[in-house]
């Protein structure tokens, strides 16, 4: 009786909420609900079973779980909004959960460092295209050492590396080229030469991960300058055009290669 009822509830409910810890590393689809660790006990017993009485029924151990990209809170549970693999990291408190997905279209997020192209200068602000739905606005005072008399030397068509201070779905994004202390910290206008190309967002995240082998291997090849924007844009500069082209092609191809193939290519380059 209990078994049949259980099967019926499963099929009726569609997908029963699964515990997040069991699904780590697996593919999740949008619409799935995930349970956080402390909620599993409440769902455990079936309808026929007895629920254990709790003396402190109202309070639950509060663990601060951070809900990363691809997840959204719905009531007590996590709702998946993107398809991809579920990941978790223990990081002070309850940890972070997020969905690793692949996409090419960038959506501005506050705090992200991006490469933008200046499209217009109007009065006090620059309009910068960052690959999102709207161009971001960048005030001319948001550069290191800029004052009303001392304007930065930015032309239409220049590349800018900056970060978002305002980026939500209701407002036009705003970016700046200084950090909270007022220093540039590497941001600002990117130099004149070099090549800008676009890759997927997942590749950027992979390349910016702390111990990226690809970057170390590339750095051993020859001197280069490289800027990664979280909006999928990479700017590369090497001594000659040929080297820059090789770099651009390697980075674009890294997405589709296994690490063995990559090592082969690098060893071939190092020999030639």
């Amino acid at each position: 009786m209990a078994g049949a009822a259980a099967v019926a509830t499963k099929s009726l409910a569609g997908s029963r909420a699964r515990a997040a810890s069991t699904v780590l590393g697996q593919v999740v689809l949008p619409g799935e609900e995930l349970l956080l660790p402390e909620q599993e006990d409440a769902e455990g017993p079936e309808s026929a079973g007895q629920r254990p009485l709790r003396l402190n029924a109202g309070t639950r151990s509060r663990v601060r779980v951070v809900c990363g990209p691809g997840l959204r809170r719905s009531g007590d549970r996590l709702l998946v909004t993107k398809c991809g693999r579920l990941r978790h990291k223990e990081h002070g408190g309850g940890g972070v959960y997020w969905v690793d997905s692949q996409q090419k279209r960038y959506v501005p997020v506050k705090g992200d460092h991006v490469i933008g192209i200046v499209t217009a200068k109007s009065g006090d602000i620059f309009k910068v295209d960052v690959g999102g739905s709207e161009p971001a606005s960048l005030s001319y005072l948001a550069f290191e050492g800029a004052t009303k008399r001392n304007r930065p030397n930015v032309q239409v068509g220049d590349l800018i590396y900056g970060q978002f201070v305002v980026a939500n779905k209701d407002m036009e994004p705003e970016m700046v080229c200084i950090d909270s202390c007022g220093r540039a910290n590497g941001m600002g206008v990117i130099g004149q030469d070099g090549l800008l190309f676009k890759v997927t967002l997942g590749l950027i995240r992979k390349l910016l991960a702390p111990d990226c082998e690809i970057l170390q291997e590339v750095g051993k090849l020859y001197p280069l300058e490289i800027v990664f924007g979280m909006n999928g844009r990479i700017w590369v500069k090497a001594k000659t055009i040929q080297q820059t082209l090789i770099l651009a092609n390697i980075l674009e191809a890294c997405e589709h290669m296994t690490s063995d193939q990559r090592k082969q290519i690098f060893s071939r380059l190092a020999e030639s």
């Binding site: 192209i117 499209t119 295209d129 690959g131 739905s133 290191e144 050492g145 004052t147 009303k148 008399r149 001392n150 930065p152 030397n153 930015v154 032309q155 068509g157 220049d158 590349l159 202390c181 007022g182 220093r183 540039a184 910290n185 590497g186 600002g188 206008v189 990117i190 130099g191 004149q192 030469d193 070099g194 090549l195 800008l196 090849l221 020859y222 001197p223 300058e225 800027v227 700017w235 001594k239 000659t240 055009i241 040929q242 080297q243 820059t244 082209l245 090789i246 651009a248 092609n249 674009e252 191809a253 997405e255 589709h256 071939r268 380059l269 190092a270 020999e271 030639s272």
Partner: protein, 438 residues
């Protein structure tokens, strides 16, 4: 959506690369990208991929009354559509110029060249003729739409089968495909468009421009040729002045390319015919391999890597070490010092805006001096952080130097740490001579 703007550095890079005869994907000047032709299950349906540019072609036919002034000829109708999935810039209202240009070019290439025998499309003179309609959809835009579209159109026309018709006196019998096998159209020749992009007022030319090359090109020359070296149509746009020799040279190249492409088309048609005859599986679903690792592979870009290592060695041996900056701090009062002039501002100097090279240079410099290092590190640190020196925003010319009292304690702890560490904090210390303003 608006098109992504082309930045100045991309434009400059592309033009410089073209001057050195290098293309982004490693092709030679006269090389085409890989052309891939696949057929659908219906007759007359094909997808042509020229690199990443994809065009879908579909042919259909209908019996209609002929045009009044051409009572014995069938009707050919071409329609190219730029789908919104091809590029973010393609929106329903916004594509008219490009669309009209492409459609006209296609019509001139295929209709005016009489590649299809329209007399054979006549069923009853003056009353019923076949109207052949070719619909082309651009699925992805990566440059050179016109070439891909013309190949798709002619391949679809060659692949198409129309229902068989039998005329006896006044009686016309139209057979369904089940009763009698459909009949192919009669194709006289296979015209193919070849595009040439010109740069720097006609000095450099490239065959089969990709999307980025199209953005920086000065003008475009399109020549439609068949394998017998007969020119079907020729069009030059962009307003560049071309010399006679250039046009002649381009037409010769176009002839060679058209021959190669025609061979490819014939092979593809033949393969499809064999597969259908033997009863094997055909169609789009079959041409995409799933369940295999290579399903999502990328084409290898033939980039020449031969002389990279020697060049790198050369460069490394020839470059001088970075100049050592000897800092001479001026001690204003115990706890405050100044390094550098502090007056000139070097905004917008591209050499100084790179992020990576600055750290090691200035850090090493700071540790070089002996005892003077005491005041130097905190001076530079306090100079950039706490800003005791204010660059004038107002009319004042001289600099105001504040006397920080509480900095004394901070400074002492700092000296200890900087002396011991090899490379102090990862904050990039700017080489710029200005100070931060409050």
């Amino acid at each position: 959506m608006k098109e992504t703007p082309l930045s100045n550095c991309e434009r400059r890079f592309l033009l410089r690369a073209i001057e050195e005869k290098k293309r982004l994907d490693g092709r030679q000047t006269y090389d085409y990208r890989n052309i891939k032709i696949s057929f659908g299950t219906d007759y007359g349906c094909c997808i042509v991929e020229l690199g990443k540019t994809r065009v879908l072609g579909q042919v259909s036919c209908e019996l209609v009354s002929p045009k009044l002034n051409r009572a014995t000829e069938g009707i050919l109708f071409f329609n190219l559509e730029l789908s919104q999935m091809a590029a973010p810039a393609f929106e329903p209202g916004r594509q008219s110029d490009l669309l009209v240009k492409l459609n006209r070019l296609l019509e001139r290439c295929l209709r005016n060249s009489k590649c299809i025998d329209t007399e054979s499309l006549c069923v009853v003179a003056g009353e019923k003729v076949w109207q052949i309609r070719v619909d082309l959809h651009l699925l992805n835009h990566d440059g050179n739409i016109i070439d891909a579209a013309s190949i798709a159109a002619i391949v679809a026309l060659c692949h198409f089968r129309r229902p068989d018709v039998f005329v006896q006196g006044e009686e016309v019998t139209l057979y369904t495909p089940e009763e009698r096998d459909p009949v192919p159209l009669s194709v006289h020749h296979v015209p193919v468009c070849v595009s040439f992009a010109f740069f720097q007022q006609g000095t450099f030319l490239l065959v089969d421009p990709s999307e980025r090359e199209e953005r920086v090109m000065d003008g475009l020359l399109v020549i439609a040729v068949n394998k017998h070296r007969e020119i079907c149509t020729i069009q030059s746009s962009g307003g560049i002045m071309l010399l006679k020799e250039q046009v002649l040279r381009c037409s010769k190249i176009a002839g060679v390319k058209a021959a190669e492409i025609t061979e490819l088309i014939q092979k593809a048609l033949e393969n499809d015919r064999i597969v259908r005859k033997e009863g094997g599986k055909f169609g789009f679903a079959e041409s995409i391999a799933n369940q295999r690792i290579t399903a999502f592979k990328m084409e290898e870009a033939p980039v020449d890597t031969s002389d990279v290592e020697e060049k790198a060695e050369e460069i490394i041996t020839e470059t001088e070490p970075p100049p050592e900056v000897v800092s001479k701090p001026l001690l204003w009062s115990p706890g405050t010092a100044q390094i550098g002039g502090g007056v000139e501002n070097s905004w917008g100097d591209p050499e100084e805006s790179e992020q990576e090279e600055e750290d090691t240079g200035s850090d090493e410099a700071v540790l070089l001096d002996g005892a003077e290092v005491d005041t130097a590190p905190e001076a530079s640190n306090s100079g950039s952080q706490d800003a005791p020196i204010v660059l004038s925003d107002s009319e004042e010319e001289e600099m105001i130097i504040l006397e920080p009292d509480k900095n004394l304690k901070k400074i002492r702890t700092r000296t200890v740490s900087t002396k011991q560490e090899k490379a102090p904090s990862k904050k990039p210390v700017k080489k710029r001579k200005k100070k931060t303003a409050n």
